[in-house]
Symmetry: C2
C-alpha cells in the first residue's frame, strides 16, 4: 500500500497545526508520499517586495516575478522546512519539485483564451513512476511542492490537488495506492452547516444523485470529479478528511470507483 497525502495551505499557515499534522504523517506506516500546497506566504512575500498580484477572473496570473516567488516559497522555504521537520521526526523525507528527476513533466497552458502565464498542466501517464519507486524502495518519503517544469528549462506553477492526483496515479502503477486529501472540514457534508452530516462513501452513481439534488456544495464538485477520476483510473480509494483525522481510517469521505 502506498499512501499519498495532500495537505493544504491552511495547515501550512499554522505552525502548530503543521507540526501536529507532520507528526501524524511521520507515524503512517509503509510507503508514503506527501504533497503540500502553498499557503499565504507567497502572497505575503510578494507584498513585502511590492509586487502586485495580477488577477484575471479571480484567478492569479503567474508572471515571471510571481513564478520566481512561488518557486522560492514553495520549493525553497515551505518544502525544506517540511523536510527538516519530518527528518527530525525520523521520517526520511526528500523534497522534490516536478523538475527534479523529471518526475512530473508538465506542459505550459496555452495562452488562449486566457494567458495565465507560467502555469502547467500535467498528464498523469507521464509521471516518472520509476524514479518514485526507486525512492520508495530506498525507504525515502518524497515530499512534493506544486512546482513543475516543461522540460525545456522553464519552471511552471501547478495546482497542488492535481499534483497529488497525478502522483497517486503514478504510484498506482507501482502498487495499491490510497490518496488522502486533508482539508479544514471533516469530509464532504450533505449540510455545510452540520459537521455531523459527513457522507461516508461516494461512488460515481451517488455523486450524480448528490449533484442533481444540489446536496454537494458547488466548490466541492471539481474536487469530487477529480477524486472520482483518480479512483476510476487506478487509485484504490480517495479519502477527503480533516488533517487531524489522517490516522483515523474510518473518518471523512471515501470516494471509490464502484
Amino acid at each position: 500500500m502506498i499512501n499519498v497525502v495532500k495537505i493544504g495551505g491552511n495547515v501550512i499557515d499554522n505552525p502548530s497545526a503543521l507540526e501536529s499534522f507532520l507528526r501524524d504523517f511521520a507515524r503512517l506506516e509503509g510507503k508514503k508520499i506527501l504533497v503540500h500546497g502553498g499557503g499565504k506566504e507567497a502572497t505575503r512575500m510578494s507584498e513585502s517586495m511590492g509586487i502586485k498580484a495580477n488577477m484575471i477572473e479571480g484567478r492569479r496570473v503567474t508572471d515571471r516575478a510571481t513564478l520566481d516567488i512561488v518557486t522560492m516559497v514553495y520549493a525553497g522555504l515551505i518544502n525544506k522546512r517540511i523536510v527538516a521537520m519530518l527528518q527530525s521526526m525520523g521520517c526520511d523525507a526528500v523534497g522534490l519539485t516536478g523538475a527534479d528527476g523529471n518526475v512530473i513533466p508538465a506542459t505550459r497552458r496555452a495562452a488562449k483564451p486566457i494567458d495565465y502565464g507560467f502555469v502547467g498542466d500535467i498528464d498523469p501517464a507521464k509521471v516518472n513512476d520509476r524514479f518514485i519507486a526507486s525512492l520508495l524502495d530506498e525507504g525515502a518519503v518524497p515530499v512534493f511542492c506544486a512546482i513543475c517544469h516543461d522540460g525545456k528549462g522553464t519552471l511552471l506553477n501547478c495546482n497542488a490537488d492535481t499534483i497529488a492526483s497525478s502522483v497517486a496515479l503514478g504510484a498506482a502503477r507501482i502498487g495499491e495506492t490510497l490518496l488522502t486529501y486533508c482539508f479544514e472540514k471533516p469530509g464532504v457534508m450533505s449540510d455545510v452547516d452540520n459537521e455531523d452530516s459527513v457522507i461516508s462513501v461516494i461512488t460515481p452513481d451517488s455523486f450524480e444523485e448528490l449533484k442533481e439534488k444540489g446536496i454537494v456544495a458547488a466548490g466541492m464538485i471539481p474536487k469530487l470529479q477529480n477524486a472520482l477520476k483518480s479512483a476510476r483510473e487506478g487509485v484504490k480509494e480517495v479519502r477527503i478528511c480533516r488533517a487531524e483525522d489522517l490516522l483515523s481510517e474510518g473518518k471523512g469521505t471515501r470516494i471509490i470507483a464502484e
Copy 2:
C-alpha cells in the same frame, strides 16, 4: 569515476555564463554531482524586503530572516532553475539540500566566541553516501545547494566549498572521485597579475614552499588547505580552474596528496 563540481556565485549571477557552464557540465560523462554557491540574489532579495545584512567582523550573520531568505533563494530559486536547465539539456538533475534524505547532517556552530546564527559545520564522515550512491546508480545527477539541517528540525546555512569537499569525501567512499572547483581565475597563479603563471600541480610539500615564499595569495590559502585535506582523506584529485575550462582536463591547478 565520480566528478564532483563546485560552481561559484559569480557564474550563478551571469545567466549566459551559467547556461554555457551547465551545457559543459551536462556533457561530462559518467557519474557526477554539482554543488552551487549562492550569488548575489539573496542580498538583492534581502534589500528589496528591507532586511539589513547583520555583519560581524566582515562575516554575515545568519539570523532567522536571513535563513529564510537563503533557503528560498538557494534551495528554491537557484537550485530549481539549475535543475530545470540541466533537465532541458538531457541531464537528469535532482536538486537537494543536506536535509533531503538526511544526505548532509550538520551541526549548528557554537554561539561562542561569535554567534553567526543559523550556520552549520559538517563532518564529512556523516555524509549519507548510501543515498548518493543510490541516486548515481539510477543515473540521476545530484545538485546541491549550501543549505543543510541539524536533524532536529532546523535548517542551517553552510559554506558551499565545504559542501563540495564533504560530498566529494562521501562520494570517494563509493568510487574514485575527482573534485573540481570552478572559479573566475584560470587556476592558482604564482603571479596574481599574470594569467600565464598558473601552477599546474600542488602537493603538500610544494604547498608549504609556496606558502613560505609568499607566492600564493592569502585568500587562496584556506582553499588550498581544504583541497589538500580532501586529497589526503580520499579524493583522488582536486582541480581548481576556470568555469570555461571544466572540460579541458589539462587546465587549471591539480592538487594531489603526494
